[in-house]
Amino acid sequence: MSSMSSIRGHIRSALRGLSTDSGDTPVGGVTRGNTVKALERKVVNLQGQVVDLHSRILEAESKAAAERRRKLDSKFKQKFKQQRLPAWQPILTADTVLPAFFLIGLLFVPLGVALLLFSDGVVEVQVDYTECPSVDPRHRDPLGGHFLCKDLILRPEFVPGENFCYCDIEFNVTTAMENEVFMYYGLDNYYQNHRRYVKSRDDKQLAGKQVTDVSDCSPFDRDNRSRIYAPCGAIANSFFNDSLKLYFTDSQKGKQEVPLRGDNIAWDSDKNIKFKNPPGKTLDDKEGGAFENTVKPLYWTKPVFKLGSPPNNTGYENEDLIVWMRTAAFPSFRKLYRRVDNSNLEFKKGLAAGLYTLHVDYNYPVHTFGGRKRMILSTTSFLGGKNNFLGIAYITAGCVCFLLGVVFLVIHVKFGERTTNHLNINQNTPYTK
């Protein structure tokens, strides 16, 4: 550009020279004819120069274009280096953010309503059996009542796993539970997220790897003969060991057991990869067995390879264990226990409304630390279980946004003028009251 302007300057000065020369010459006292000739010569000369300069301009322009092209390549780099990248500068004034608020409100409120509807569609039945009385006639108390299982299991004669104490709880299902019905056990005030508890496990062991160092499981790592607990750690040790059975009392058929399936209650990923039985000829603790040199956890009544049903649901791969080992986030939680078997014709459509009986083999002590135990029957929705919180939260948030939108609308209408006034004020604006 500069070269071109300089060339233009040349032309200009040349033309100026032409005009001044013509003006000056007569003063010199040279004859007129000579002057004219000289002038003509000069004009021709200058015209030639101008043509020449024009071609030079064209040349320079093409050069500049090439330069521009070349520069374009490194343009981004240059702009980056010099912090001149194209930028968008949003300024959050009332008028610009108004749509955002209304938009959020418009999205959230319906979503919240939908979530509430989903939640409403879920049928859930909870049975708290923490304080269920033992149905065992041996456990009759002198006053004619039954002792509670929670107390019985604390007795010295209690032998876990031997069906020492069991109870039956009858409950009504008022709405039919359609489609898939899941049975959960729920624990309250149970701190599965205690720092030391939650760390007390060994995932390598559970993944079927040969482990020698199970210090993470401490103090439930080895017994006093230095055998490794299988599985080790406090979580495994405190494996939920109540067994729950459900009976449906039909008016025609009488009491019949609801078929429950214990498979497919854990994540496939856990079942297939995270929890694997160690390699071995047999699934036992005999020599060459998968659980050689291990011992059952302290609180367990049977070794891990006797859990569940072989071959796929035993050992570390037992889904109940897998579900238990996925520690809960909060002290109140539920864990999937069984699914109602849909293959059974009787319960193909889920659970009908009616009287149900929960049969509990009561082993698991929770009341010592103030915990509760529940059995939960629930259908699921798109979002899982029954939970109104999200729906309400969405609706509230949406309403708040809508409200804010209205507020900003007011601000915009009332104070928008003021903002523009602000804009017109700069440091030179005289101060007036």
Binding site: W88, R195, Y197, N224, I273, K274, F333, K335, N387
Partner: protein, 1575 residues
């Protein structure tokens, strides 16, 4: 420095004195590698600045890094994690952040150390190149040298060195001082070889000692940040304490509800293998064995113990709230900021392509908070390109036109940008032929006829009523002028002598080194102390104008003239056999300038004869237009013919005196021609001038001789043919000049000729004596005859006309341009205050000199507004005169005047300071040419005297306390000892000889006036004085001086005293005014800085008036400003000053109150003298009683309008009193200064500069920036918070110690207002964001503790927890911190007031920290409890919930930073996208591949489950959006209702942009076809 020493110095104790001195022995006398070698204890010269080597890197770097508190803290956390009962993280993972930080820092250190290593390698390999060849020299047998040197131990003081060489068995010592020391990394210029002894080597050299201590600067923002970090620590402790309490409470609850207080399924009583064991160990391990004692068991479950343990666990978990990553992030951000600042093309200096240099990496944001700028003047605001502009010699002012354009380029001359045209009058005054009998004929100029001339009516008919007044004024003015005229015309030879002495001072009293060509080292040719014998090839390098002077050695002795004690000041100018009576006025160049260039142009085509005609014609045809010349050749020829035949007759030639001088100048000019291209014409001219006029005579002879003689020896550009032809022609001339030329060519002048030449000036001198009494009557009986008298008054009359008469006649206008009154060269009708007051001074009769002093220079503040225009009109007035005359007559052409000086190629001068260079070059132009100088001699070409060799006896170097420099030389002409002194006016004027002579007093007074005028014009002034020292006095002084030099203790003090002994009773010669122009855009920059609210203090060593003027022209002081001056000369002024300060301060404080008249009045009455009088008073005894109190303290006039900005002016002397702790004036001063927008401190020493900065920094508590370019600014730059060095001509000391080095002052505007603002804003918002970010995450963890029984569970997977700040959210802050712009550059630059944001700390307030923490708390509540609400009681595992919370935290934090981004670029988007992507990629990779890695609980496949879960998304979306709502609302509301200044400006800018775009669109629609491709 060993660690031990460092520790000691930290403690504050001084280092154990090594010993008072150390001894260095000449190395060759010693056994090599001998342990007994006394030098063995000194370090070798190998420099190692590296901190590490391969082996020590890791341990040493770790050691260094763990000096940082943050790292220690994190190490502590990591170690805590190794305690089993406490550990919250897996040990390996817990170390990750620390390792990351350590390794990033280590990498950075490694990189830096590698750079140091490379530079060391360069230094060690290259710079120690010692030529030992000289050792073989016959004269210098190094083996014979056997001595040791005692030196002081190494110090960091660069200008301090003491040592001695014991000689003669220690009975005598040769003293050594800093001038004997060559510092490392100095460049030795123009020196063939140096023989020396290494006294300090390697790490002990001063430069290494100084460079080793680079201090770590902590920015104000960082200090704020650290306060916030402390708050974070407090928050952390509170959180830990609360959680620990909760933990204890929970434990107590379980104690109550459960048997034995056991946590469910975690019974403490476990069968244990190893039986017993240490109870404490078990406790700590968290496992209490069965057989543990009951006490231990109880303790293990006791709430207190549990709480105690969990406290430490919480310290580990909540550590994130201390933003460790912040430190690393900030370092990276600053690196990026620096990178982009350095890449800003606007900082590139077009002159040399140099750009900004950020030397300090860690204080970029300080640029955005600068409150006070302390700036140097010279070289910082100004170009430091000194151009000699004015000088006052002997009371006569000579002004010079500055030429800025590079007209020299095609002339083949210098290529410097600025130059000046030589003052013809000064030139003539200096070069006037020796006054002979005819000279007084000229001195009748203020004759009655002249007075009559003055009474002519003014040409301006528009103002007839003013005529009488003006006439009166003019009459007075004429009297004044006449007196002034006498200064140099009553005693032209005295005047001439003084001019010569003046010039000699300029030439001798400096540190200039002469080099003909750039120096080439020639170690082989070096001698051993003998003055170098100029060999053939030495001519170019050693002896400067070598091609002009045949052989200096042969030449110089001949110059030594038998001393003439009675007339010591006679110079060789008096060789002139021709009596030339003309005054300088008469030597008007008129037509000659036009003619000479003509030669130049046409020289190749026209015959020599025509040239002669042209030249000859000039005298009579003074105003022939150039265009006519061609047509009137014959006439010219005819005219010439008249004088030419009568050359022999002196009387006739004297008639042509004026023209003669022209011819001489012309001739000298034209001698340039052969040097260029056209050879023949010049020789003809030479022949002409030498044959036609005897006047130009020696000059011409010299010239031609110089041309002729070197022809034999030089292979220079002068072809031998032309030279010989020149000499032929020359020799053929019949006059004595030819004889001289012969003599010259044989390198000798005949003594007889000299003697003959001397006689006439002696006579003239004697006849001149009566003129001392200001008689105007010329002595006609001297050599002047009738013709000369006819011409001289005529010309003189013209000369005295001022520009008011310009239009009357062309003659007078021409004359006026050369007239002495053109010194002030302005019309009396000019009504500006400056002019008027100058008239006053002119009008003041000599006998009333003392009385009106105070009145004369009394600039009143109302006049200040018009000052600048005055100045411009003033400076251009003489220009106007000449341009007016140019209408009728040719303007004196630059070519001609330059030509006078360009007779010889200029030697290359190199000086320490540009002032000296300017002065030496100025003298050079006037023919006083420094040819060569070494330690003991100086060779000066003196006009008329030829080349003189001065013996330099002593040099008293310049220092900032004496503020002057002196040389003591022995004049070769008279053998007398002369002291030439040059320095600041205060330093000189106080030491002047008290003169009783009225004329001398008048001269001094004139010089004062000139000094004042110069400094008013913003010129740098220097005074020049001299003193004759008698032999006896010298011998007496010498003894004491030698003693002082040899002394070891107090040497400096003794030397100072010794100098002072000599530098007294000086005779004032004159003063110089050097212009140092402002750098481009300096006023605009200062204006912008002031508009930005930055207080600018100008600290300069210059004179107050100079500084004030520069301050005005640099817009430091605005015209509307009230300027307060505080000048005190003695300490007794304290009380007065206090009152003054109090009154001013009070007035400033209470703006609406009427000024306290009594108080102010008393102050003013005492101190009503103005600064202008200060200089005068300082030297006159009569006024000392006044000066003993406060000299001048001009409180702002009782201004009711106190909204005005104020400027304060203080001089260095006053500052000493103020800074003196005993006076306790400091706070008052600061209070006053704090109310001023600009403060100017003149005459400040480097130390004072630093002190002022320190005072302001400490007592005002402001963020200071110092800008300087020279070594004298170093301490100031180092003291300030931000030091900016300007890489100018003054060397690189300032740059080396600065934090930022720029090449132009105007870059400061962009650096501060734009980059500073940006950097500060970015960093401040990022730091706030970081606090928010970390608190957010930690608070989520805290809320979780309520649901995990305060056991210190992490909730989130540890990898996530660590990666979260390390990778997920680390990039956006860096990008925003480096690239966000809260306002576009154009807005920030055009609205400097936006700088307030940083200056007033509006971006990072401490309350904002808490607001951010609150926001973080809200967000964490939303994020955690929404997840809680959604998942509580559900069947989702903890890891999935945790992932959900992490996800919403991430989104929330990214949304938050998105709200903070003010300008979105692709980088911002990319960083946010990167964050999201890295989160998902990491999660995918981590959860899908890792079953049980890093000893962590597996989160296998959690991520896919979460991502496919609608609940997860519902929670994430809801909580992240809800979380940022408050911030969003706040930002919107704030922008809408209370926008900040920046936002307002940006909004306005964008609206304007939109309008413009709309208009363009409309215009485009309207015009349709008009292409948008036009650039």
């Amino acid at each position: 420095m060993s660690l031990y020493q460092r520790l000691l110095s930290l403690v504050g104790r001084s280092l154990p004195a090594e010993q008072a001195t150390r001894t260095v022995v000449v190395n060759h006398t010693l056994q090599p590698d001998n342990a007994t070698n006394p030098n063995a204890s000194h370090p070798s010269n190998r420099v190692t600045t590296t901190k590490y080597n391969l082996v020590t890197f890791i341990p040493k770097n770790l050691f260094e890094q763990f000096h940082r508190f943050a790292n220690i803290y994190f190490l502590f956390i990591v170690l805590l994690n190794f305690v089993p009962s406490i550990n919250a993280f897996a040990k390996e993972v817990a170390m990750l952040p620390l390792l990351f930080v350590l390794s990033v820092t280590a990498l950075k250190d490694l990189f830096e150390d590698r750079r140091r290593y490379n530079s060391d390698k360069r230094v060690n390999n290259s710079s120690c190149r010692v030529y030992c060849r000289c050792l073989d020299d016959d004269n210098f047998d190094v083996q014979k040298l056997n001595f040791s040197v005692e030196i002081s131990p190494p110090t960091t003081k660069i200008y301090h060195f003491l040592g001695s060489i014991p000689v003669a068995e220690g009975t005598r010592r040769i003293a050594l001082n800093e001038s004997n020391l060559l510092l490392r990394s100095c460049f030795v210029k123009n020196t063939d070889f140096v023989e020396g002894l290494v006294v300090y080597a390697g790490s002990e050299t001063k430069v290494m000692l100084n460079s080793s201590s680079s201090r770590y600067k902590r920015s104000r923002l960082e200090r704020h940040m650290n306060t916030s970090v402390v708050c974070c620590v407090a928050i952390l402790l509170v959180m830990c304490f609360l959680s620990a309490t909760g933990s204890g409470v929970w434990q107590a609850y379980f104690d109550k509800v459960s048997a034995g207080g056991v946590v469910p399924f975690l019974p403490p009583v476990m069968p244990s293998l190893n039986g017993g064991g240490d109870a404490l160990e078990e406790l700590v391990r968290g496992e209490v064995s069965e057989d543990a004692s009951p006490a231990v068991r109880r303790l293990s479950t006791s709430p207190g113990w549990v709480a105690f343990l969990s406290f430490w666990t919480f310290v580990i978990i909540f550590q994130v709230i201390i933003p460790i990553a912040l430190y690393v992030t900030i370092e990276i951000i600053k690196m990026l900021q620096v990178y982009h600042i350095q890449n800003d093309p606007c900082f590139v200096d077009a002159r040399n392509g140099s750009s900004i240099e950020c030397r300090a990496m860690n204080i970029t944001e300080e640029l955005g908070q600068v409150q006070y700028v302390f700036t140097d003047k010279t070289g910082t605001l100004t170009e430091n390109n000194m151009v000699f502009q004015r000088c006052s010699i002997n009371g006569v002012d000579y002004e010079h036109q500055i030429t800025t354009d590079k007209l020299d380029t095609e002339e083949g001359g210098e290529n410097c940008g600025d130059s000046f045209e030589i003052n013809k009058q000064l030139y003539d005054d200096l070069h006037r032929p020796a006054p002979s009998g005819t000279s007084p004929g000229q001195q009748q100029d203020p004759s009655p006829s002249l007075m009559y001339h003055q009474r002519r009516p003014l040409p301006d008919p528009a103002a007839p009523d003013q005529q009488t007044m003006q006439q009166q004024q003019q009459k007075q003015q004429q009297e004044q002028q006449s007196l002034q005229r006498h200064l140099h015309q009553q005693h032209p030879e005295v005047h001439q002598e003084r001019i010569l002495n003046f010039m000699l001072t300029l030439v001798l009293c400096n540190t200039v080194i002469v080099a003909k060509t750039p120096h080439r080292d020639k170690p082989a040719t070096s001698g051993s102390g003998n003055p170098p014998t100029p060999g053939v090839d030495d001519y170019h390098s050693v002896i400067t104008p070598s091609r002009l002077i045949p052989s200096l050695r042969a030449f110089t002795p001949l110059i030594r003239i038998p001393p003439l004690p009675e007339r010591p000041y006679l110079n060789l100018r008096s060789l002139n056999p021709f009596n030339r009576p003309l005054s300088p006025i008469a030597s008007s160049p008129t037509a000659s300038p036009e003619v000479c260039p003509k030669h130049h142009n046409a020289g190749n085509t026209k015959s020599p004869a025509i040239f002669m005609q042209h030249d000859g014609k000039n005298p009579s045809l003074q105003f022939v237009p150039a265009t006519l010349l061609g047509g009137e050749n014959s006439a010219a020829h005819f005219n010439l013919k008249d004088p030419t035949p009568s050359l022999g007759s002196q009387s006739l030639v004297s008639e042509l005196g004026g023209p003669d001088s022209e011819m001489s100048s012309c001739a000298t000019f034209c001698t340039d021609v052969p040097l260029d291209s056209s050879l023949t014409p010049a020789t003809e001219i030479l022949s002409f001038s030498s044959s036609s006029a005897d006047g130009p005579h020696v000059m011409a002879a010299n010239v031609s001789a110089r041309h002729s003689t070197p022809g034999k020896e030089l292979q220079s550009s002068v072809p031998a043919k032309s030279v010989t032809s020149a000499s032929n022609v020359f020799n053929s001339s019949s006059l004595s000049v030819s004889k001289a030329s012969d003599d010259l060519s044989s390198s000798s002048l005949s003594p007889s000729q000299m003697n003959w030449a001397y006689k006439t000036p002696c006579a003239a001198q004697s006849t001149n004596l009566p003129l001392m009494h200001l008689t105007l009557n010329p002595l006609s009986d001297s050599a002047g005859d009738a013709t000369s008298r006819i011409i001289a008054p005529e010309l003189a009359r013209e000369g005295l006309c001022n520009s008011a008469f310009i239009s009357s006649t062309s003659e007078s206008s021409l004359g006026s341009s050369r007239a002495p009154c053109s010194v002030y060269g302005s019309a009396p009708s000019n009504s500006s205050s400056e002019e008027r007051f100058r008239h006053e001074t002119r009008l003041t009769p000599p006998n009333t000199l003392k009385i009106p002093l105070g009145r004369i220079y009394a600039p009143r503040s109302p006049l200040k507004s018009s000052r600048r225009t005055d100045n411009s009109s003033y400076s251009s007035s003489s220009l106007e005169a000449s341009s007016v005359s140019g209408e009728t007559a040719p303007v004196p052409d630059k070519d001609e005047l330059l030509g006078v000086t360009k007779e010889e190629p200029k030697p290359l001068y190199e000086a320490e300071s540009p002032d000296e260079l300017a002065l030496v070059e100025a003298a050079f132009k006037y023919g006083v040419r420094l040819l060569r100088r070494d330690a003991h001699t100086a060779l000066v070409d003196v006009p008329g005297a030829g080349v003189l060799q001065f013996e330099v006896l002593h040099v008293f170097p310049f220092d900032s306390t004496r503020k002057r420099m002196s040389v003591m030389v022995r004049d070769p002409r008279t053998k007398s000892i002369i002291l030439y002194c040059k320095g600041a006016d205060s330093a000189i004027l106080d030491n002047l000889d008290r003169v009783g002579n009225q004329l001398d007093q008048f001269r001094q007074f004139r010089t004062h006036q000139h000094l004042y005028v110069y400094s008013k014009k913003g010129l740098r002034t220097l005074c020049v004085a001299t003193r004759h020292v008698s032999e006896a006095e010298y011998l007496w002084w010498r003894r004491g001086h030698d003693e002082a030099e040899a002394s070891f203790a107090d040497r400096e003090f003794k030397l100072q005293n010794s100098y002072k002994l000599m530098e007294k009773s000086l005779t004032l010669l004159g003063a110089t005014g050097i212009e140092d122009r402002l750098q481009p855009l300096v006023p605009e920059t200062l204006e912008a800085l002031r508009a930005a609210g930055i207080v600018v203090w100008l600290l300069t060593g210059d004179k107050q008036e100079t500084a004030i003027n520069v301050a005005h022209s640099a817009a430091l002081f605005s015209p509307t400003m009230q300027i307060m001056k505080v000048n005190a000369t003695t300490q007794h002024a304290e009380e007065t000053m206090r009152r003054f300060l109090e009154s001013c301060g009070m007035r400033a404080r209470r703006p609406r109150q009427a000024p306290d008249d009594d108080d102010a009045g008393s102050v003013l009455s005492v101190t009503a003298t103005d600064v202008a009088a200060d200089n005068v008073h300082a030297s006159t005894t009569s006024m000392t009683d006044v000066s003993s109190s406060l000299m001048a303290a001009t409180c702002p006039d009782a201004a009711p309008d106190d909204d005005k900005e104020r400027g304060l002016v203080v001089d260095g002397k006053t500052l000493t009193f103020i800074l003196d702790r005993r006076t306790s004036l400091g706070p008052l001063f600061l209070e006053l200064a704090g109310q001023c927008r600009s403060v100017l401190i003149s005459r400040a020493t480097p130390l004072q500069k630093a002190l002022v900065v320190k005072l302001a920094k400490r007592d005002l508590g402001v963020l200071s920036m110092a800008v300087g370019d020279g070594a004298n600014d170093v301490s100031m730059i180092q003291t300030a918070d931000v030091g900016v060095g300007i890489s100018g001509v003054e060397g690189r000391q300032a740059v080396m110690c600065s934090d930022f080095a720029i090449s132009r002052f105007c870059h400061l505007q962009r650096l501060l207002l734009l980059h500073g603002h940006w950097c500060h804003h970015r960093l401040a918002s990022i730091i706030l964001y970081f606090f928010y970010k970390n608190a957010n995450l930690v608070l989520v963890l805290l809320w979780y503790q309520f649901y995990c029984s305060f056991t210190g569970n992490n909730f989130m997977d540890q990898m996530y927890l660590i990666q979260f700040s390390l990778t997920f959210t680390s990039v956006p802050p860096v990008i925003v911190g480096a690239y966000d712009k809260d306002a576009p550059s154009s807005v920030l630059l055009s609205e400097p007031h936006l700088y307030d944001a940083g200056r007033l700390d509006q971006v990072f307030k401490h309350s904002y920290f808490w607001v951010n923490i609150l926001d973080a708390a809200f967000q964490s509540i939303v994020m955690f409890f929404f997840a809680l609400g959604a998942y509580y009681g559900g069947d989702s595992g903890g890891d999935l919930v945790a992932l959900t919370v992490v996800h919403s935290c991430l989104l929330g934090q990214l949304l938050t930073i998105a709200l903070e981004i003010k300008s979105w670029t692709i980088l911002h988007v990319a960083s946010l996208v990167f964050s999201l992507v890295i989160f998902h990629v990491f999660s995918m990779a981590y959860t899908m591949s890792c079953v049980a890695c890093f000893g962590l609980q597996s989160v296998y496949w959690v991520y896919p489950h979460a991502m496919t879960s609608p609940l997860h998304w519902c929670v994430v979306i809801l909580s992240s959006i809800t979380a940022v709502l408050p911030r969003f609302v706040y930002r919107c509301g704030q922008t809408s209702l209370w926008p900040t200044a920046v936002q307002t400006s940006v909004l306005r800018y964008r609206r304007l942009q939109r309008q413009r775009r709309l208009q363009e669109k409309l215009a485009g629609q309207n015009l349709g076809c008009r292409g948008s491709s036009t650039v």
